[in-house]
């Protein structure tokens, strides 16, 4: 038990770092869900492209890291926009479920494309600042500070966007009632485009900072975890994603650590933790920890 407590700071730090990635991906799920009612299964693939574009721009093209990072996020946003225009928008008169199935198709297409261009099992993406920080009981990489700072910045920007800008307010209106929003003159199809641009940018950022390694297969894992975080926080509640991401990230490190060190159960299947949390939330609190619509009611 003592060993467990001694390891706790490290578990928390690791959980926080993973949680940040989940927050960014989960916000993407929520933003698209709010504007369109669609669960975008290609959300994880946005992250994959974020990581692989960063690799291509830094290692293959030799650009400096900050420029490469910005270009990678913009490129992924563009890809998200293209996906909306080419796949989602043409399906606007179909049912939501048709569009969701189309996003599954898009996710398979993106993954295959990634696999064709970058076939190896891993590519090393340079860290923003290599090295690490050691405190008693905890060692984190310096990259962790970037992960944390970028996540705080992204969440703040999204907050400002939704509360202070016209487009953001219009998107919130769409999430309350798309038909009513359309009646008062809001172009709901444009809002759909905006939501894909924004969600892709957030996903791309998550892939970018999840350095040091990127691969064509990373999208599925991040997508599943991000979706779980979104449901745990409350699907459709953009800031519920923050709570969901942190809860999932931290529990995912703490629970296997506890099982292993205290109870002696060696568990290699950490993925099961996320699945159990997801099922528990759906059974006992299907609206999520914060519930849907808190943002709108403020």
């Amino acid at each position: 038990m003592l060993d467990f407590w001694r390891n706790c700071p490290q578990y928390l730090a690791n959980g926080l770092a993973n949680g940040c990635l989940y927050i960014l991906v989960a916000m993407g799920f929520n933003i698209i869900y709010n504007s369109t009612g669609i669960i975008n299964f290609a959300q994880g693939e946005f992250s994959m492209f974020g990581g692989l574009f960063a690799y291509a721009l830094t290692v293959s093209a030799g650009l400096p890291i900050p420029l490469a990072a910005i270009l990678a996020v913009l490129s992924v946003a563009l890809l998200g926009g293209l996906m909306e225009r080419l796949i989602i928008n043409p399906l606007r008169r179909s049912s939501v479920i048709t569009a969701i199935i189309a996003t599954i198709g898009a996710s398979i297409f993106f993954k295959s494309l990634g696999r064709v261009i970058w076939p190896l099992e891993a590519y090393k993406v340079p860290e923003f600042t290599p090295g690490n920080i050691s405190l008693p009981g905890v060692t984190v990489s310096r990259q962790f500070l970037w992960v944390f700072a970028l996540t705080v910045a992204s969440v703040s920007l999204v907050y400002v966007f939704f509360n202070r800008t016209r487009a953001g307010k219009a998107m919130r209106a769409c999430s309350v009632n798309r038909q009513a929003a359309s009646l008062v003159g809001i172009d709901v199809f444009r809002m759909s485009l905006y939501s894909f641009l924004l969600a892709a940018a957030l996903g791309g950022a998550a892939g970018l900072i999840s350095a040091p390694y990127a691969s064509y297969g990373m999208g599925l894992e991040l997508g599943v975890k991000g979706f779980t975080a979104a449901v745990v926080g409350g699907l459709g509640n953009v800031f519920g994603a923050v709570v969901g991401g942190l809860v999932l990230g931290v529990l995912e490190e703490l629970i296997p650590g506890f099982l292993h060190i205290v109870l002696g159960i060696s568990t290699g299947y950490k993925g099961a933790v996320a699945a159990v949390i997801l099922i528990a939330v759906l059974l006992f609190r299907p609206q999520g920890i914060l519930g849907k619509g808190m943002v709108e009611k403020v």
């Binding site: 390891n7 690791n14 080419l86 064709v116 060190i261 060696s266 950490k270």
Partner: protein, 401 residues
């Protein structure tokens, strides 16, 4: 609006067709061989490899080696004047495609033997078809389950978790002279094969597995850190890592970051330049079991039969392709070597059954991976002595003492 929609649908169709073209690749097999000095009717051997998909880094050098081997064999007269023709198909690292390719080769081409595949899944798919039609198969995949069930028709060239595991444990107990082992293994088939073997064999070497922690191939750097933290709680004296890239590289990096000053022993899964590239500085001092082919100039006696065999292969490979041989090229080279040597002994007109029996009688055959000895009970062929422990020094491979 309607026009735009049509344009969008059209674009979508183009994308779809383009993606299908990329994904399906070229369907047909390619024939290599014939020509040369051999003039009698060619002997047909089917080859199924993963030249694309995740196992591409395996399939490409395997193909290079097989083509080179056949070219040289046919130039020197083939087998009793019969040239050897290999029909090569790409399974794209996919079991279904491998099965389909096997059926085509067996039913339409009437091959006398099949080489393949690079990975365990496709190999099992081929095994099913080849065994059913009673045609011998030599594979280049290392999964333990390949040798489960009926092994009559299947043989293999690469070392398995058993040989590599014995070598690594022997190094820990006799080279490092420590007892407490902390194991980190991938929960993929490669890692769990290793875990099963290592946990079973550790007591034979007087070692204690103090912690055995499974990670997932897709784990983030932080999650890997948690696994390492758990293992460190049990005060191991050596960290043993059984997995394929990139996680072993992350573990090396994390150990360096956290100032964990324990020896790092890896598996043959990191016997590639990719590991050094991914781990960077942290690769320094890492030790792992590998075929002698990686460091043959340093571990084999110049002039010895094994040394000359690998040197000749390495030179021919370099002059044809301009790159160095690697482990996978060795697996391919040995696969075609084993079949053609058996054909030389039994004669070019051998039926698949006769060929199989002769392959099983292979004894003391020097190949690139080591010395092959097959028997009715053992279709793996190699022994732990065919491996050496390799240490990464200055981003280069050196034999470990």
């Amino acid at each position: 609006m309607c026009g735009m929609r049509k344009a969008a649908v059209f674009l979508l169709l183009i994308l779809l067709v383009a993606s299908l073209c990329i994904l399906s690749g070229c369907g047909g097999g390619e024939e290599v061989g014939e020509g040369g000095k051999a003039t009698k009717e060619p002997i047909k051997i089917g080859v199924i490899l993963s030249e694309s998909g995740p196992n591409e880094p395996l399939g490409k050098p395997e193909r290079n080696a097989i083509e080179l081997f056949v070219e040289r064999l046919n130039e020197s007269g083939g087998i009793d004047g019969h040239s050897v023709k290999v029909i090569i198909k790409d399974d794209q690292s996919d079991s279904n495609k491998a099965q389909q390719a096997a059926i085509e080769l067996l039913e339409q081409e009437d091959v006398v033997a099949i080489i393949g595949s690079s990975g365990t899944g496709p190999t099992l798919a081929i095994k099913q078809e080849a065994s059913k039609r009673r045609v011998p198969q030599v594979c280049m995949a290392a999964g333990a389950n390949i040798m489960e069930g009926d092994i009559t028709w299947i043989f293999r060239t690469p070392p398995t978790a058993t040989e590599a595991g014995k070598k690594a444990l022997e190094y820990i107990s006799e080279g490092l002279k420590v007892k407490r082992v902390g194991l980190l293994y991938d929960t993929n088939p490669f890692g769990t094969d290793g875990k099963t073997v290592l946990e079973k064999l550790a007591p034979d070497y007087g070692l204690e597995m103090v912690a055995s922690e499974g990670y997932q191939s897709t784990d983030t750097e932080e999650t890997i850190d948690t696994h390492l933290t758990n293992v460190m709680t049990y005060n191991p004296e050596v960290i043993l890592v059984w997995g394929t890239n990139p996680a072993p590289a992350i573990i090396a990096k994390k150990m360096k970051d956290k100032g964990i000053d324990l020896p790092y022993v890896g598996s043959h899964g990191i016997a590639n330049q990719e590991f050094i590239k991914l781990a960077g500085d942290a690769a320094e001092g890492v030790v792992f079991p590998a075929g002698k082919i990686l460091v043959y100039e340093k571990v084999l006696e110049p002039g010895s039969e094994e040394y000359e065999f690998i040197r000749e292969f390495a030179q021919a490979y370099r002059s044809k392709y301009g790159i160095e041989i690697n482990t996978f090229a060795g697996h391919g080279w040995d696969a075609i070597l084993i079949i053609t040597e058996a054909l030389k002994r039994v004669g070019p007109d051998a039926t698949p059954e006769e060929l199989r029996d002769e392959i099983e009688r292979t004894q003391g055959l020097i190949g690139a991976d080591g010395v092959f000895n097959y028997s009715p009970q053992d279709h793996n062929g190699l022994s732990p002595e065919d491996l050496v422990m390799v240490k990464i020094v200055g981003a280069k491979w050196e034999p470990a003492e």
